[in-house]
């Protein structure tokens, strides 16, 4: 049974290798567009995550805060569910950092008699809580402590990150669906042609009492293999694009293996689904 399907599918490729190649290539091209997009999306994700890691709330402390008060505050904030860790930056450390980062002002700082920079708590949020609402909520809670002078967080760019990601998701979905449809149409046409090319055989199969599954299986297998080949081709093309761009234009990260595997598999499943649809519409019953 299974060996018949395999032999028939291979025979189909043999009979029309050009057609099989053409359809694998068109699937490959459609999935390549998706692949490139996946690559971009993935890299945007990676970048966003590194940016996000910098999302933090900084609480500037009054100069007269006592060691006990500081400890209470640090423990309290550290136990917020949103908070990953809390770092205390003393007045001295603040000054040292400033002198390191702002070399031009080193003279000015050294001349100062009192250290004007406040001590602060740098509060890092857990990855799940880096959305604008959570950041704001944490900031407001910290601001309630009397010895907290001021609370700052990068409100605007937190929001921008989120907008960017939503937009990226939407574009990916739209493009993804559009190209999947194109690929399905192409595979569907291929299978339809395969069905037409083998109409006589199908008629004889039904005439002598072959089961529906038996009649359909070679075509489904053919669609699946074509889809897989298209997926693999797309992966190859995407990797080519990655090699061409990476290093010369910008630094990119290659897709994680799971994405790549799923992409190729998606090609196979696309091929299978397209074959199935085409069979439903074009499988002749013998007349």
């Amino acid at each position: 049974m299974a060996s018949h399907s395999v032999r028939e599918a291979i025979a189909a490729f043999r009979r029309a290798p050009g057609l099989a190649l053409l359809s694998a290539m068109s699937i490959g091209l459609s999935l390549f567009v998706l692949g490139t997009f996946g690559l971009v999306t993935y890299n945007v994700e990676v970048t966003l995550r590194t940016i996000e890691r910098r999302v933090e709330v900084v609480a500037y402390l009054r100069d007269n805060v006592s060691a006990e008060q500081l400890e209470v505050l640090q423990n309290d904030v550290g136990s917020f569910p949103e908070v990953e860790n809390v770092t205390h930056v003393s007045k001295f450390e603040a000054m040292r950092n400033a002198m390191q980062q702002l070399e031009e002002f080193r003279e000015v700082f050294t001349d100062l008699e009192v250290n004007p920079l406040p001590a602060s708590l740098e509060v890092q949020l857990r990855p799940d809580y880096r959305d604008p609402e959570s950041v704001q909520r944490v900031a407001e809670l910290i601001a309630l402590y009397p010895f907290v002078e001021d609370v700052q967080y990068g409100r605007e760019w937190v929001e921008k990150i989120y907008q960017l990601r939503r937009l990226g998701g939407a574009v990916a979905a739209v493009l993804g669906i559009a190209f999947a449809v194109v690929a399905i149409l192409i595979i569907g046409t291929t299978v339809r042609m395969a069905v037409l090319a083998r109409r006589e055989e199908i008629v004889v199969m039904q005439l002598v009492g072959a089961t529906d599954g038996f009649v359909r299986r070679p075509f489904l297998l053919e669609g699946f293999i074509t889809g897989l080949a298209g997926g693999a081709l797309a992966l190859l093309l995407t990797y080519g694009a990655y090699l061409a761009v990476n290093g010369s234009l910008i630094d990119l990260e290659w897709l994680p293996p799971l994405w790549a595997t799923l992409g190729v598999l998606a090609g196979g499943i696309l091929g299978l689904a397209a074959s199935d649809t085409a069979l439903r519409r074009h499988l002749v019953t013998y007349a």
Binding site: M205, V208, G209, A210, F214, A287
Partner: protein, 231 residues
Amino acid sequence: MIKLINVYKEYPRSGLALKNVSFHLRKGEFAFLIGPSGAGKTTILRLIHMVESPTDGEVRVSGYSSMRMKRRDIPRLRRRVGMVFQTFRLLRDRTAAENLAFALEVTGGRRSEIKGKVQRLLAHVGLAPRAGAYPDELSGGEQQRIALARALIHDPVVLLADEPTGNLDERASRGIFELTRDINSAGTAVLMATHNLDLVRRYPQYRVIELADGAVVYDSAGEARESGGES
């Protein structure tokens, strides 16, 4: 074994192709189905092969009923009902032997058994020496022999033949007809639609069912009056 009970068949555009057709074909029986072109002979064979289902009435074939037929039961029914056509319907890109092997393969035949069975069938229809010939290299009569062999691969209880000699000359026709007689005498019932009235007259021992305009107008088995045409 095959029973049509008050069968009507209506086609969307051409109207009633069969009107109240009833007859019973018994195990091992041989019957001609005659009548002018368009009378409904092919339609009856297609109903028995369950390519079509009746608009009204019931078709019973070897334990299966058109009223309770599920799509997945059809393959099993088709293996019990062999069918041949005027146009043979062989696969032209396969040899005689490959045509038979194909029919066995696609119905789940075991590879180890296929070769032997194909050879037996070829010998049965007298074409063992032409096993490697393609349909285009065979005469019409020889092609029909292959088609008959293919119809027999599952030892059917009945053979349906739709004008099997329609494309053949006198001599080839006789050969094919003799072969169907052999098949019949081995126990397989035969229902043969034909325009060849000479043939029908030459074998008065066989039953004749005559159709006109979708109705049974004569049945030599004497069932015509109860079941048949109002005309």
